[in-house]
Symmetry: C2
Subunit: 438 residues, 2 copies
């Protein structure tokens, strides 16, 4: 039987937890699209209950005033709520509310990356146990369809690596530094004044936000449980305009990337590496042209080849669009009495950062005298780190050497750095950054 | 209940219709990914029957010789075939075979754009009547997830326009003309010698292949039936290196775009415009950097904003990857006894090309004497066509005027051209091309 019956559409009553930018945009979008969704999917969507912290605030949403409550648990428990949308953020009470909804057999759509990156596996298992959906397209990269393509379109694909520009704040800051030569501090201030960055920007600039998204992407891409605590982080606060200029000379730009990759460990078992760090991206790589507040996820597949999914990573309406797509899917599955589910996931074996292989950019200040390059090159060679390119720039009595290596293990690169620092001719080891596109 | 049972995986026997590049790649990919798909989706996929035109050809696929037959109908009818994959191409006998499979309650996965662009609606309806899937991710833009995002992720999105670079042959030719100054004829010859273009390149260079994909994308994006015959076509065979150079001076490149858009007709009803034509794309638009044999689909959404999905548009393994994703979805839905389906679609109201609004690039050769620009500008003004930019280049006794207009109706632009041609001072009207990004 066709799931969409030609008769009157099935009513779907939505309980909304949280009514900030995303929640309010969702309530509006549901009302705006109601007739079209009824025509096309045979579902009559309506937001009937909304849990907020303060009911006294006048919210410009097309929902009856009587729908609002401060008692979120009552929204979840309400027999007149069919599907729960969680857009309140944070771990508690979101976690308890989502668990209560799933346990009651109500599908949940969430945009909460922090919750999923820390407690995703137990929630997916609970959803599976109860035969309902837990969908979360909006939790990573806003409006960009990324979770559904990873889960479904690429369900059979041997995915090798997923790399995302998934934090708009840092991408805005790096774009300003690159395009206009703004300092990190100035670009951060501008991002704060525009409302793109929080007053305490740590979660963005140190890569924790991107790290949570990396954990979620790794879990879905590789079908094994990865949590936020598994992610290795380096932020962008140490990046200088000089680094960006050196990178530009080498035809690269610098992006904060969230990387999840599946590799084979020394014992032959597969392992998952998950990390966030500023990265030199070749200017002709599709990720290089993802600027400002846009996000993109680049997928390297063994059969599909390279894919990139690009769009708005944040904002009320873009995020609400992703929630609405999930909501329609969850409601249709509820009508069918069936949910694809992620099921119960084994814990991923996490690759220690020491084992991770990457190309590197290094910037050394050295004495400008004969024999120095040979001494430096010897140190690289002793640790098996192969040099892909070198540029030398005279600076009076000293010189700057800029290297890009071929792929090297983190541990070998670190040992190389230790030995380089102990060379008399090396005055300073400047920035050390990873490079993609080797 | 969770759909993935922890016990032994469910066996799914695949009947393959066609074993060219895509079919052979699929048979290999299914074998390669069998264990992982069993682990993650609880499905044990196996290609058990393959219909080919010639069983004497030795095919390097990991399937028993006894699986091959020239009797395609027997593969569809075989009770030991659970899911049918159609990668033979062309309309007949593919259409009859797909109909037979759906009527027998067997899900079908197809990569056949021609079939869907001409008979999609009747096939979607038949699939819906029989409660099984007809999935076709591979029919448009190879490995790029585009059908599933349009159908599901963007199910609630007010999609305004979908624009795709969906034909690798023409994109290769235009990239060669642009990057290396090759003539159209030379670039086409090169594409033919590399196997990117057919000996008779009409379907690619005149936009019929892209047009079929435009019809499929329009149908899915706007939930209404659009067929290949609805698509307005202009090909690339008239594009010269000079056009590409003029475009470059204006900071644009030229791409063959498949465009599907929803607009409001004069009577207030919505209508769908579908067309394929060479287009000036601003160099800072994400589609401008889609080169060579890559494909991309750019979506303009009213809530999601701009999205782009990018990747390999052709090739055996990339296309097989998309088929495999659909196959897993279809098999999982078969196990659940439920298929989301597209349902029965109403016929779209197609916007006549005369009604379509676009910005235009025009290249005029005129006498180089006072008053000519005023005369030309008067003609534009009389038809309500507003000029966005103009560049003049002296050529001795004559001059070249290059205009980009603001959005204008096709009928007004054509009337403008007619009047321009009748001006004494206008010696020739050169290329007239549409422009995006206004």
């Amino acid at each position: 039987m066709n799931d969409v019956s030609p008769g009157s559409p099935d009513r779907v009553r939505i309980g909304l937890l949280g009514c900030g930018h995303v929640g309010a945009a969702l309530a509006s979008l549901v009302a705006e699209r109601r007739a079209e969704v009824a025509r096309r999917q045979g579902l009559d969507l309506e937001v009937t209950r909304i849990a907020v912290r303060n009911t006294a605030i006048d919210r410009d949403v097309p929902v009856d005033d009587g729908a609002f409550t401060t008692d979120a648990a009552s929204v979840v428990a309400d027999p007149d709520v069919d599907v729960v949308v969680e857009v309140m953020g944070g771990i508690e009470p979101a976690r308890e509310l989502v668990m209560a909804a799933l346990s009651a057999g109500k599908p949940v759509v969430t945009a909460n990356k922090e919750l999923l990156a820390n407690h995703g596996a137990e929630l997916y298992a609970l959803a599976a146990d109860n035969g309902v959906d837990l969908l979360f397209e909006a939790a990573v990269a806003g409006a960009i369809p990324i979770m559904r393509p990873l889960r479904e379109s690429l369900a059979g694909e041997p995915i090798e690596r997923v790399m995302g520009i998934v934090n708009g704040t840092t991408n805005f800051i790096l774009s300003r530094m690159s395009d206009d030569g703004a300092s990190y501090a100035d670009a951060l201030s501008e991002a704060q004044s525009l409302g793109y960055a929080e007053r305490d920007p740590t979660a963005d600039v140190e890569g924790y936000d991107a790290g949570a998204k990396a954990a979620i992407m790794a879990t879905v891409a590789f079908g094994a449980r990865v949590v936020a605590g598994d992610v290795y982080h380096e932020g962008i606060s140490g990046i200088s305009v000089a680094d960006i200029e050196f990178a530009a000379d080498l035809k690269h730009c610098i992006k904060l990337l969230a990387v999840a990759e599946q590799t084979v460990a020394d014992d032959g078992q597969s392992q998952v590496g998950v990390r966030v760090h500023p990265t030199l991206v070749p200017l002709d790589h599709p990720l290089a042209s993802v600027n400002g507040s846009f996000n993109a996820v680049f997928i390297e597949g063994g059969a599909a080849g390279d894919l990139m999914l690009y769009g708005r990573g944040a904002g009320g309406r873009p995020t609400a669009s992703a929630v609405l797509g999930d909501l329609i899917d969850a409601a249709a599955n509820l009508r069918r009495g069936s949910a694809p589910g992620i099921g119960v996931l084994e814990r991923a074996r996490i690759a220690p950062i020491d084992d991770v292989t990457s190309a590197y950019y290094l910037n050394l200040e050295v004495d400008d005298r004969p024999g120095v390059l040979a001494a430096v090159a010897t140190v690289f060679g002793e640790h098996g780190v192969s040099i892909r390119s070198m540029e030398q720039e005279g600076l009076g009595g000293e010189a700057r050497l800029v290297f890009i290596t071929h792929g090297a293990r983190e541990r070998d690169l670190r040992a190389t750095l230790t030995d380089l620092r102990s060379l008399d001719a090396v005055r300073a080891v400047g920035s050390v950054l990873r490079v993609i596109g080797d």
